[in-house]
């Protein structure tokens, strides 16, 4: 009590203090919003300070160091059995501009390349000839897609206004478009049944011809394809 008196003097002061404390407590506990707002702000401030500190340490740690072999040569033994010329028309656009309507940028991009079907002869199995018959089991054909960059061209192009969007956005958009297109087109063509069937037939024809030409013995040739997922590495 003595301490209370020293600190707060008379009873009227004490009442005033109690009223203030009660008001603060009541306001914060009734609304809850004050705490939340303070919480959001505190979270953002703490996060920014501690994140910046951790990021700086991590950034300077040189953890992001890697080494790779860029140039290499590998012996392969795949027989290309079918090639199809591929012409791609891409209606490409970037961004939506709410103020002016439509895209910020659009072009009509033409690309050319080849879809090449191969069978990997290093994964083929040659059975021991029996009853005058040689059986060769081939893996399923695989498909590679090549683009001839020299034939890539823009047939038409439109930019909303000169300062709409940024050059860096356009740079990234173009590179990502090529990467996605390569993956997507390859996937579509690799699952194109009629092309795959033609590739199998061609593999049989071409390999039969080679076997016939290079054999010292006359015998019947049987060419089979391994089931998918049943191919030895």
């Amino acid at each position: 009590m003595k301490l209370f008196r020293i600190l707060f003097g008379g009873s009227s002061t004490a009442i005033l203090v109690v009223v203030i404390m009660a008001t603060v407590y009541a306001v914060s506990s009734i609304s809850g919003g004050l705490i939340d707002s303070v919480g959001s702000a505190a979270g953002a401030i703490n996060g920014a300070i501690e994140g910046a500190k951790a990021g700086r340490e991590q950034g300077l740690s040189a953890e992001d160091t890697s080494a790779s072999i860029d140039s290499k040569i590998t012996e392969v033994g795949k027989l290309e059995v079918l090639t199809a010329g591929v012409s791609i028309k891409n209606m490409h656009s970037v961004g939506n501009n709410d103020s002016f309507g439509g895209e910020k940028y659009a072009n009509l991009l033409i690309m050319k390349g080849n879809a090449i079907f191969t069978v990997d002869l290093t994964k083929a199995t040659f059975d021991e000839p029996a009853d005058g018959k040689l059986t060769i089991t081939l893996p399923q054909p695989e498909m590679d897609l090549t683009f001839n960059e020299e034939e890539t061209q823009i047939l038409a192009e439109r930019q909303n206004s000169f300062f709409d969007g940024s050059a860096e956005d356009g740079y990234i958009a173009y590179l990502n478009t090529l990467a996605k297109s390569q993956t997507e087109i390859k996937s579509v063509l690799a699952n194109y049944d009629s092309l795959m069937e033609q590739a199998r037939k061609s593999a049989e024809t071409q390999l039969s011809y080679i076997v016939q030409q290079a054999s010292l013995t006359d015998r019947e040739l049987v060419i089979e394809f391994a089931e998918e997922g049943d191919e030895s590495e």
Binding site: L7, S40, K72, T83, A84, K89, Y171, Q182
Partner: protein, 228 residues
């Protein structure tokens, strides 16, 4: 008497002010500690999530890239090109600020790969039963399939010192660099004598193995590979 009253009044006001300050400090420190310990209130997560989603949607829409691709196939042909060597390499296409009118610095790492092939349709197979020998005359390997691996293209640096320019400027810069990379990689593959030397060696190995596998009944088979 009046002076004493005045003095007492001042003293009370001073104490009120000190008390108020003390309470504020206690509430502030206490609140701060409580917020940190308790996970900073339910408002934090909700505010963060709402702001994040709104900003993300807006930003995505502003630069949404759309591609509508149609594919035409033509010139479908059966082939018998034997891939004998795969070559991969990387080129760095450096565009500095002074190289263009837009003040753009753009460094690009572009990997590419190609295959050296031997056309077996134009090859000759000479079989000698008596000598148990097969002679194969093949054309020299050539780089027949070559492409940039766009999925592994790596942006090393991009800096725009001038105005923000436009999407068109950036797209054209990327296209120009890809075309330059294609040309440089192709030249590097074709002109490297080591690649041709290895392709020939590889062609011999692959054909010898293949022909021996075709003739398992002839263990001492001799296979000779010659170039036309």
């Amino acid at each position: 008497m009046s002076n004493k009253k005045e003095k007492k009044k001042k003293s009370v006001l001073m104490r009120v002010a000190v008390s108020f300050l003390a309470i504020a400090v206690v509430l502030g420190v206490g609140g701060f500690v409580a917020l940190r310990v308790s996970g900073i209130g339910s408002g934090y997560d909700a505010a963060y999530e709402a702001a994040y989603n709104k900003a993300k949607d807006k930003a995505e829409k502003a630069v949404h890239v759309k591609n509508r691709i149609s594919i035409s196939l033509g010139n479908i042909r059966e082939t018998a090109n034997l891939r004998v060597l795969e070559v991969t390499d990387v080129v760095y296409i450096i565009e500095n600020e002074s190289d263009n009118d837009d003040g753009i610095t753009a460094w690009l790492e572009v990997p590419g790969n190609g295959y050296f092939t031997v056309d077996l349709q134009t090859s000759e197979f000479l079989v000698d039963d008596e000598r148990q020998e097969v002679v194969v005359r093949i054309p020299e390997p050539r780089l027949s399939d070559f492409t940039i691996d766009y999925t592994s293209v790596n942006r090393l640096e991009f800096y725009n010192s001038g105005a923000n320019d436009s999407i068109k400027v950036g797209e054209n810069m990327a296209r120009k660099q890809c075309q330059k990379a294609y040309s440089e990689l192709h030249s590097a593959f074709v002109s490297n004598p080591e690649y041709m030397k290895n392709a020939k060696k590889s062609a011999e190995n692959i054909l010898k193995n293949l022909i021996r596998q075709i003739n398992p009944e002839v263990p001492d088979l001799k296979v000779i590979v010659e170039y036309q």
